[in-house]
Amino acid sequence: MGKNLNKKSSVLKILIIVLSVLLAISLSLLVGVKYVLPAISSWLGDETTVTVPNYITPSVDGDASNGDGTSGNQQLAGVSSTVQPTAPVLEFYQGNAEHNRRFEVRNMVPGDKEVRYYDIRAHHSKDVTLVFRGVVTEQTRNLGDVLDVVVTNAETGAVLCEGTFNEIHEIEFRTVLPANSDKVTDTFYKVEVSMDTSVGNDYQVARLLADLQWYIDEGSEGLDPPPQTGDSTQIVLWVVIAGSAMLLIFILLFTRRKNEEEEAETDE
């Protein structure tokens, strides 16, 4: 029996080592793709530029509209496309400091409109489907019934999604990003949130929290289930959990070795 257990223990030890190596590789790739590559890309940012036609940065008040094609053009400091991972990767393109910021709107009154711009960069080597989804995570007084959301492609003006927050909640809006030789597609989204002037007093002192999500759906015909919503998808959280697990494993191995040494000493 003792021999059997010893044998089992050895097999388990090997398994632990193999899994630890795999986890370390996965973790390294994750950190590399999510943090190191964008940093390198930013560092090499002088190599190319990306033009966003008909595109005006919103004012502080957030009220902005598309330009007329002459004055609205701006050039953003670009990102080199020389470093591209093979797996589809999404990142917020940090060409404009005013972009990619979350909404934080207080004291909204009927007639108010807030605008944010999001610059999404997808690294992909084949046709992929970019999915947008709005998820209401908290609301009072059913504010989501009267807060209108319009998501448009800031470059083409095509409307991707339109409705109230409660209407678009957890619905996927898809755009196909065709493969290209650069293996990079930049998509610029304008998200407008507004409240109609007809909204009454019932919605005073109401609050709504929502997540805006973009992800690549690689499944054909949209059959793949979307990622779960909420905090479970936060990349930082993943990294922290993975790091904690690694730490735990090292502690476990250390404790085990220490116990073995103690037992060896006792046996002697």
């Binding site: 994750l30 793709v33 797996a87 979350r102 909404f103 999001y118 805006l212 973009w214 697990a245 046996d267």
Partner: protein, 181 residues
């Protein structure tokens, strides 16, 4: 090494393997998921709330011991307790009593006459609407003067009148025509 100790180690190893496997799946999923999220976008609506004279009646019964041609002046406050700037309007509601036919109301900001109307006309349809914005937290002191018509006859002796003075507020932003709900 005894069996129980070894068994304990085996269980510990199994636990470690399960944990490792879960973390491997999680990190791999995070790596390939290509997911972006802008979390916790916040939208909060404003509060529009106005206070008229702290809820205290502006006129009392004694204030209406009027004679034809006589008037009575009272100060009152209006405070913006909203979270945004507002316009306000004031009118009379629930008027009861015969005196309403011979009373006239005036509203002053200091010496400046802002509004004047017969009591019958000082209603929700033709209220006093402020021209100026009442800022967040601002308190305005106004005066109202009630005047009895000089032509009021003896018929109005010992008559009384009761009413509510009502104040409404509406947002300034996106409301150039001062629409009240």
């Amino acid at each position: 090494m005894n069996n129980s100790s070894l068994q304990k180690k085996v269980w510990l190893s199994i636990a470690a393997i399960v944990l490792l496997f879960v973390m491997f799946v999680v990190t791999t999923y995070a790596f390939v998921s290509a997911f972006l999220s802008v979390e916790d976008n916040l939208f909060e609506t404003a509060k529009v709330d106005i206070d008229l004279n702290g809820g205290v009646a502006i006129f009392t019964e004694e204030d209406f011991a009027l004679e034809p041609g006589r008037s009575n002046k009272k100060d009152f406050t209006i405070t913006n307790n909203s979270t945004v700037d507002v316009y306000y309007r004031i009118y009379l509601d629930g008027i009861v009593g015969d005196l309403q036919d011979v009373l006239r109301f005036e509203i002053y900001d200091g010496e400046e006459l802002l509004y004047a109307a017969d009591m019958d006309d000082f209603n929700r349809d033709t209220p006093f609407v402020s021209d100026k914005v009442l800022a967040v937290g601002e308190t305005k002191v106004l005066s109202t003067v009630v005047v009895m018509d000089t032509k009021a006859g003896n018929h109005y002796q010992n008559q009384s009148c009761s009413f509510d003075m009502v104040a409404n507020a509406t947002q300034v932003r996106n409301n150039p025509t001062k629409v009240f709900e």
